[in-house]
């Protein structure tokens, strides 16, 4: 055992853990930041869009030095038919100043972010896996790692080990995630010359564009994305694990079919796949959030299911929860009390923050999809929409009135009749409006 004690140990150098470590180190605490990867970000992936607001609370004007890819000025939504697409988009140069969000790559970003925590005084311990929490009675008093003499003691352990949180499980905060609480995302990073990307996406310099994709996921609940980085594209799909199981489809098959879609294929043409990875995304939302604090511990980020699936926000919530946990730890340190009584302040802080509000608003999204609904929403409907619009736009002598009828019929049929269309609509509306 290492003889020294820390004020706090953070497990996981993702956005949540690093934010916590940074906050505490700044506050003068003696902090160890433990990460199993070779370096932070080595094993992490995300879409990824990074937002300004929450990070700025921690690191003012961080974007001036952080390794970000492109500033997003345009966001598009594509509803994919088999060979066609219905597009919707919004572009506004106001998103540039101040920037609203960026594309980023975790490998670079996490490293940089962690280096900030390091500079603030946190001790980085990498390539080290925390295998269990050390406990005395119910109190968490430190961690055991996979290294020789690997126990490390601290007053507080902050659990930020991501979606698959083994430590969370060991505290019985949650069981194995159920297949309908997580989706599996696969993603490729595809290299293309900078200029080619700019030409294909109508961008200049550091401008970026994101495209969210609905449809062509073989009837499973899931979304795709295509984001522009400096000289790469991030292309991925995330699909609910229960649907994958039911359909016996491998996630990369879904990605492959998206890649072959004629509208996508031309955007990635000639690119070289540099990286392929898969990762779980918590989708359970508000209702699967575990208790956030106990005697000697707090949990934040994905480990606490803090992901807003509808708005693809995760890092946001992770960073803010990490910061709040860090601030709570500082207060606990001042009082010399590390029990649930003090640490519960973190719970309160999360409740008062946007995390709670946003997740609560969307709490109905999870469970929205009864059996068969995925098929309708993510397959039949996008196809029908494409077909309907095709019929509308095709000038072939058929009267406009007749065309409108056909289009409506197509949509109705896809939804399984008028009642179902209505039902889906109402369900969706309720879910979004909590």
């Amino acid at each position: 055992m290492a003889d020294e004690r820390f004020d706090a140990i953070v497990v996981g150098a993702g956005p949540a853990g690093t934010a916590a470590a940074y906050t505490m180190a700044k506050g003068g605490l003696k902090v160890a930041l433990i990460e199993r990867g070779e370096f932070p970000g080595a094993k992490n992936i995300f879409g990824g869009v990074l937002y300004r607001k929450q990070l700025e609370d921690l690191l003012p004007e961080f974007w001036k030095e952080a390794p970000l890819e492109r500033t997003i000025v345009e966001q598009r939504l594509w509803v994919l038919g088999e060979d066609s697409v219905v597009t919707l988009g919004y572009r506004d140069n106001r998103f540039q100043d101040p920037p609203n969000c960026w594309t980023g790559l975790r490998v670079k970003f996490d490293q940089w972010f962690a280096s900030k925590a390091e500079q603030a005084g946190a001790l980085p311990i990498y390539e080290t896996v925390v295998t269990e929490l050390l406990r005395v009675d119910e109190r968490v008093v430190g961690v055991r790692t996979d290294r020789e003499d690997g126990d490390l003691h601290a007053n507080i352990v902050i659990i930020a080990d991501g979606v698959n949180s083994l430590l969370g499980k060991s505290l019985l905060l949650h069981r194995e995630w159920q297949p309908d609480q997580v989706s599996l995302a696969v993603k490729e990073v595809i290299a293309l010359p900078k200029q080619t990307i700019q030409d294909r996406f109508n961008l200049e310099d550091n401008e970026g564009c994101t495209i969210e994709l609905i449809g062509q996921t073989a009837g499973m609940a899931g979304l795709g994305f295509l984001y522009t980085n400096k000289d790469t594209l991030s292309l991925g799909v995330g699909v609910m694990v229960n649907d994958l199981r039911e359909k016996r489809i491998k996630p990369y098959q879904v990605l492959d079919s998206v890649k072959r879609h004629p509208m996508i294929a031309r955007l990635i043409q000639g690119g070289e796949v540099k990286e392929y990875s898969g990762h779980l995304i918590p989708e359970g939302g508000f209702d699967s959030m575990p208790p956030l604090a106990g005697d000697g511990w707090m949990v934040c980020g994905d480990a606490a299911q803090m992901v807003n699936a509808v708005h693809r926000e995760g890092t946001n919530l992770a960073v803010t929860s990490g910061r709040l946990a860090g601030e709570t730890a500082i207060a606990a340190h001042r009082r010399g009390d590390f029990t649930y009584h003090t640490l519960d302040a973190y719970n309160t802080a999360v409740k008062a923050s946007f995390i709670h509000r946003d997740l609560k608003k969307y709490r109905g999204v999870h469970g929205l999809l009864g059996s068969g609904d995925s098929e309708q929403l993510f397959d039949k409907f996008p196809n029908a929409l494409n077909e309907a619009i095709y019929q509308m736009l095709l000038v072939d002598g058929v009267s406009k009135k007749q065309k409108q009828k056909v289009a409506m019929r197509l949509l109705r049929e896809a939804a399984g009749g008028n009642m179902d269309l209505l039902r889906l609509g109402i369900k969706g509306w309720r879910a979004m409006n909590g």
Partner: protein, 277 residues
């Protein structure tokens, strides 16, 4: 007590190096640096000797300031001291100039902590890839060199005799030599240890000793860095990527596929009938 020096070099992780297709130059930016693979085997062997007989292990490297990290890694494994020899004037060194500075460093290490009995180097580096620095250092210090060592069979610290196995293309050579020696390490030599947690903590906090040209009053400045390097890289180019039109054979029937493949291989001369050959 034995005194062992392990020479290490920080190299870019070749997994990450790319060629910019436009400029045909290396993209080194953002490429993580690692301790040269073979050097870790040298460090490990030094530590094993330390575990068995007791020894002081000093790790030395010539490189940029960022190479401190490489030394920390060795300290975490259990080395006693790390020396970084770093100066702009050393930049651009080829193996001849490198071996001069490393040899000077070993001499200064001796002046500081006492005579050195064994020097470990890696078989070769992943970037320079020459395997010449080790023999160069041994030659300059006028000590025996044992290269491509895959096993330390025997070490007697009283008679100062060492027996090692050298790996050659056609066999193994058991060689006996007297200390001091310089050994270059193969991967077969050992499995580098994973640092313990207290080791990692020590490594993270360790501040290596840094020596610059000023710490070597007698250094011959015409023999270091680019100036002291007789070899000149006159040209680099990216070889035309091998253009292969991969022919995918239908594998629904393995037997047919196998037979099909053999037909091709015999027809193109890739295979000759081994019985006749």
């Amino acid at each position: 007590m034995l005194h062992i020096v392990a020479c290490i070099k920080q190299v870019p992780d070749s997994r990450e190096i790319r060629i910019d297709p436009k400029t045909n130059t290396l993209v080194r930016q953002g490429v993580p640096a690692i301790v040269n693979y073979f050097d870790l085997h040298g460090v490990e062997e030094a530590l094993r000797i330390k575990d068995e007989f007791g020894a002081r292990v000093t790790v030395v490297t010539m490189g940029p300031p960022t190479a401190e990290k490489a030394l920390s890694q060795c300290i975490a494994m259990g080395a006693d001291e790390g020396v970084l020899v770093s100066d702009r004037a050393f930049a651009g060194a080829d193996t001849l100039a490198t071996s001069y500075v490393v040899a000077l460093t070993v001499q200064k290490v001796e002046d500081t902590w006492g005579p050195v009995d064994i020097i470990f180097c890696g078989k070769q580096t992943l970037d320079g890839d020459t395997g010449q620095v080790g023999p160069g250092v041994a030659c300059r210090l006028d000590i025996e060199q044992l290269t491509y060592v895959e096993k330390t069979e025997h070490l007697d610290i009283n008679t100062r005799e060492i027996i090692v196995h050298r790996h050659l293309e056609d066999g193994v050579e058991r060689v006996k030599a007297n200390l001091p020696v310089l050994i270059t390490a193969l991967a077969e030599l050992n499995q580098p240890r994973r640092a313990s947690l207290p080791g990692v903590l020590r490594g993270i906090r360790y501040k290596p000793i840094v020596w610059t040209t000023n710490d070597f009053p007698d250094i011959d400045r015409s023999k270091i860095g680019l100036k002291g390097s007789p070899t000149i890289v006159s040209k680099t180019w990216v070889p035309e990527p091998k253009q292969v039109d991969t022919e995918f054979l239908d594998t629904t029937d393995s037997k047919a596929a196998a037979s099909h493949l053999l037909d091709r291989l015999y027809a193109t001369g890739s295979l000759q009938n081994s019985v006749l050959a």
